[in-house]
Symmetry: C2
Subunit: 367 residues, 2 copies
């Protein structure tokens, strides 16, 4: 393998795939990045066996070949290389990096040991606008569980049915639901659970210049292709709960409130509420076109008051402040509608005048 390329090209490739490099794998080669030089393309690959990322860049290749560089060291070296043309030259298992009058030799892994990123068998294919995909990820993935005890709650449900695409994330305490219309000429159907980690990596890697994302899926895997990047991920096995059942169809109380004001008040109340023994619980008291948030703990007390529009009955309901803050931070709207049916039924939050998003939040018993 003999390659000439700019420092920038190396940096782009390494930065892109490095997110998939395994930190603590029992298979040492997974701590590496596969470099493959073929025709005039240099391909970077990394995988932790859950996610695989591939990135292709143009390079001047005078001899084809492949090797696996130690990811961390190679990326640090690339960052410190001078801004010039770099030569990479593989000599048995040693990669020689040349620049100006200097050179670095690195012991590499055997590329034969590097697991192939799986191909999707029987893949079906559709395309989404980048902006839509990013927004759907941002509005749903945060609601997933982070602990791995029940794997199905660590993924976001992606459902495509005719011209409708839905994404749903839940950790069983709250549920985030986003729907959109898409052109779908082939009338594709898909229903699969994508790990939320996969989605956050995609969210970080997609640049705004990438107008569209091509999505391929089989029954067990999904891949996302945008710009020069291809990312493949397993799907999570299991049956996602029937979330439609838990979304209330009616309510006793409906309020209209400014997102920014509510976020500020809840964040302040959370500072007082987060005292360990109080589990970050805050109570909303809705009455007389006023929303009050009160909390008394060992460290102090807070009384917040917000003017609201309201319909229906007065009510009292307690929530985990974090779960309320999470959703208020991702709503793209000045005002929201909140719906309640007493202290023990879930609360519903929607952007005003936008039926494409819904957040359901279970109440907690106030202390």
């Amino acid at each position: 393998m003999k390659i000439l390329c700019s420092k920038d090209i190396l940096q782009t490739g390494v930065n892109t795939v490095q997110r998939a490099v395994s930190n603590k794998s029992t298979l040492p080669v997974l701590q590496g990045i596969l470099l493959k030089a073929e025709k005039q393309t240099l391909t970077f690959c990394a995988t932790d066996l859950e996610i695989g990322i591939r990135c292709e860049v143009a390079a001047e290749i005078t001899e084809e070949g492949s090797t696996v560089v130690p990811a961390k060291l190679f990326s640090e070296i690339v960052r410190k290389l001078p801004d010039t043309i770099i030569s990479l030259d593989l000599n048995d298992d040693v990669l020689i990096i040349k620049y100006f009058q200097a050179e670095i030799s690195l012991k590499n892994y055997d590329p034969q040991e590097f697991p192939l990123l799986p191909d999707l068998d029987d893949a079906r294919f559709f395309t989404l606008p980048t902006a839509l995909l990013k927004n759907m990820i941002r509005q749903t993935a945060f609601a997933c569980a982070t602990e791995e005890t029940r794997p199905i709650f660590t993924g976001v449900l992606l459902n495509i049915d005719g011209h409708t695409i839905k994404m749903v994330g839940t950790d069983t305490h709250r549920l985030a639901y986003r729907i959109a219309e898409i052109p779908n000429q082939d009338e594709l159907q898909f229903n699969g659970l994508i790990p939320s980690k996969t989605l956050s990596e995609i969210y970080k890697l997609i640049r705004d210049e990438d107008e569209f994302v091509n999505i391929n899926f089989s029954d067990s895997q999904i891949s996302f292709q945008f710009g020069s990047i291809n990312m493949i991920s397993r799907l999570i096995d299991g049956q996602f709960p029937n979330y439609n059942q838990v979304i209330p169809k009616s309510c006793d109380t409906k309020i209209y409130v400014s997102v920014d004001s509510l976020l500020d008040s809840v964040e302040r109340a959370a500072l007082i509420a987060r005292d360990n023994s109080y589990a970050n619980i805050i109570r909303l008291a809705i009455s007389n076109r006023i929303l009050k948030i009160n909390k008394v703990t060992e460290i102090g007390k807070i009384n917040e008051k917000l003017d609201i529009k309201m319909e229906g009955k007065d009510t009292l309901i307690s929530f985990n402040a974090k779960f309320l803050i999470d959703v208020l931070k991702i709503i793209d709207c000045e005002d929201i509608v909140m719906e309640f049916s007493g202290s023990f039924s879930p609360g519903i939050i929607r952007p005003l005048n936008d039926s494409n998003y819904l957040y359901l939040l279970l109440p907690v018993r106030a202390t």
Copy 2:
């Protein structure tokens, strides 16, 4: 105590003094910030008994008084307050913070328990331009020891004698020396060891708008006053070593090299050298107007070559790469002069054409 002031004012005061708040004090009141309202001035004070910071801001005070707020909680609350006029009202040991229709009550500490920041007895006084003080700190404090086993090496020597000011920092492996001329009409004399932590806090707090820093000192303490801030620190007890003795007066080899090129080469070599068993040591081989840095370790090898100007003998000398990188990052000059006298005598680094700075670095035995 009754005060009206803007959120900004509170934020400035809290952010400034918070650096001196103790994290792990056995005296709970030291985890607080003293607020003192007197005349039309609100004063913020914090101390960990090593350093004390005081910051004065203008506020509308309708009732004088003082209290000690819990620093962490109060600062988080201030950050989340709306951008409006805030009222602070002390009621026994409870501080009531009011804004818009809302209020927060915080249990406070007793201000009687808060230690007074000591006054300097017999203080002598001089003034330094801010830019000079910041530069002297930046070029010397990094060379101090961080572990507390030998306290005198955790401080920077400040020496004033006639019109000359000197700062010297050393951890016994390397020594950074900076000298400057100052107007000193009173012919003040001072020789004291300032904790490097004090100096880094000052470095972070001084803004470029503060043109001058007023320095007061006694035999055991020093204070720095700039803008609305006053910072006081103990001096370190003990006898600083006679550094003049260790600075070589002559050399066998003198080289002239570009700071940026040398820094890049040493940083790359350090990546290969940092393998545990090699203790980050790199070797400089100087010969024939070329400086070579070579390193072979388990993970790979590097050969760096730099064109240099040189006078005197060829030489070979090994250093801890980190100590070389540290100084190359703070030199304000394109080129440096390095002086050597064989493999076992200290190396000297100076900016080219600037006799006000000197860095001495002990060699290590190469492996």
